[in-house]
Amino acid sequence: MGEYKDITPGKKRIKRLYTAIMLWFVGRSIQAAAKIDDDVKKEFEELPDQFLFSLGVTPDGPRMLVGKDVNGRVKYLGSNPKGRKINVDMTIKNLEAAILLFTFQESTAISSCHDRLTVDGDIPSACSVVRILDMVEVYLLPKIVAKLAVKRYPQWSTERKLMGRTKIYLRAILGF
């Protein structure tokens, strides 16, 4: 049995860090977009109060939680799901799938078609979450990249895109 080895696979630290930063930034951007964009606001209004969704990588990978408080305000709630009741839990099956998603090689829709995502929770709410994520990606990314990341690139006015992008970046970085 000379050819036998016990293997302890290592960690993908850089990919993990990249995914964690992306999730952190997207989480804060959702919070910002819910304040400045009417369509995002409307999507959240249709979700129940104290609605909480999570997007993360299994097992024990980076995660983001975004939810509505009792007053209907949308908040980025960090990465620790312990003790929280999650309504829609979107889990990316592995770190490589998360990298494909967050380097925009695959859109959310294609990623779920390729069986890289699992969704636990109410399907209409999950669809709302995907629409919110798509809108936030349109704000965050230049058109050439966003086209790869979303299912259909929307016909928004330049003013909406540029003003919204500036405000969302500022709010996401400064955290308000």
């Binding site: 080895k5 016990d6 592995n94 490589e96 799938a97």
Partner: protein
């Protein structure tokens, strides 16, 4: 279309094919209630450095595994015994086989032993002797398969095992493992897949479920194989053949092996030639024989081979000729891709005319229910490279 009144079909295999397919293995293992697998690969796979892709797939999964890279060219009892001791001592709970036929056969043998007793290997030889579910088993084929990876069959030394419990729970076909394979090995895999799919498609016990897998496998080969021959480094085209082999394996597991398979396997084993190459040589002549005997099969097979335009443009009388022409054209493409080193007749494969009777006898002994003289007709045609008289 004729609708079957009684249908039996089994395919317990989940398939995960495509980019980053290997990275799904940890989560799939969890779904199978396993967390400590042993990975078995053959030396060819190890020499090509493909084990690193498996190690990468487990990074960040929190799982540890054992890696055995010493599967010999043909599966043997000694390797299985040694591996079973290691499996039980180290507390493994699942088997992952990566590579070609021998690695899969060893994994299937190991699964029989560790799911029962060591004596099982002797007792379970034959057809449908396994009565219980085995340990979780994941098959990760590479480009140098023997076409039996995803089937219910295992061949260990001189014994054959057949049971749907031997089929893997999951098949992972990742293009990264199909980088620039040896053309002859790839041709062999494709020909076994095509033979299995065609024979499943025209089998008298076939049904609509089997046809689904067989038709899809034939169409996959039709699309991917010419591309893989002209662009050997095209990972997607090579992986397409892997997918076709998996589909053909599922179809083939639901029927008894046919004449071309039996004769090809017998010739390959007796003359130490790849069975796939022999099946490829025999395919047009075997089909000619079968289609002449049963004209009803012509239209069915033509529908699975031809695309919509070809179907519209071909009269029923010309369909048989078109099928044979398609196979022969494929053979010529293969010969061109291998710089004419690929034999197109049994004579070119250095098989003597005197041994054709022995090949026929061997195939009959292995379960081919066909008259010896009829077998000889097919073998003689394949020897001379001429149509059946």
């Amino acid at each position: 279309m004729q609708v079957s009144s009684n249908i039996e079909f089994i395919c317990p295999v989940k398939t995960n094919a495509g980019k980053k397919g290997l990275d799904h293995i940890p989560i799939e293992l969890k779904a199978l209630n396993a967390e400590r697998p042993i990975v078995i690969t053959d030396q060819e796979t190890a020499n090509k450095g493909l084990s690193k892709h498996m190690i990468n797939a487990f990074k960040d999964s929190g799982m540890h595994f054992g890696l055995f890279e010493g599967v010999p060219k043909t599966a043997d009892v000694k390797t299985i015994r040694n591996l079973s001791q290691k499996f039980l001592y180290k507390g493994f709970d699942a088997i992952i086989a990566m590579g070609g036929g021998a690695a899969m056969d060893v994994a299937k043998g190991l699964n029989m032993v560790v799911s029962g007793t060591p004596e099982d290997l002797k007792l379970l030889a034959g057809i449908d002797k396994i009565q219980h579910r085995l340990k979780p088993f994941i098959a990760v084929p590479t480009a140098w398969g023997n076409g039996f990876e995803i089937t219910k069959y295992a061949f260990i030394e001189s014994k054959a095992y057949a049971s749907h419990h031997l089929m893997p729970d999951l098949v992972v076909i990742d293009p990264v493992l199909f980088k620039a394979p040896d053309t002859k090995l790839m041709v062999s895999s494709a020909m076994i897949a095509l033979t299995h799919a065609i024979e499943a498609c025209i089998h008298p016990n076939g049904n609509e479920f089997i046809d689904c897998y067989a038709h899809a496998a034939i169409q996959h080969i039709k699309t991917c194989f010419p591309k893989a021959l002209t662009h050997p480094k095209d990972k997607q085209a090579n992986a397409g053949i892997g997918q076709a082999a998996a589909m053909a394996g599922c179809a083939f597991s639901n029927v008894h092996p046919g004449m071309i398979h039996r004769l090809g396997k017998a010739a390959g084993t007796m003359f130490n030639i790849s069975s796939g190459i022999c099946m490829g040589i025999l395919l047009p002549y075997g089909l000619e024989y079968k289609l002449k005997k049963n004209k009803a099969l012509v239209s069915k097979l033509f529908h699975s081979i031809a695309d919509f335009d070809e179907r519209a443009q071909t009269s029923p009388g010309a369909q048989q000729q078109k099928i044979i022409q398609y196979i022969k054209k494929l053979q010529n493409n293969m010969a061109d891709a291998t710089k004419k080193t690929l034999p197109l007749t049994l004579q070119q494969a250095d098989i003597s005319k005197n041994s054709l009777a022995a090949i026929a006898q061997r195939a009959i002994d292995n379960g081919l229910s066909m008259d010896k003289d009829e077998c000889l007709k097919v073998l003689t045609a394949a020897y001379d490279g001429k149509s059946i008289a």
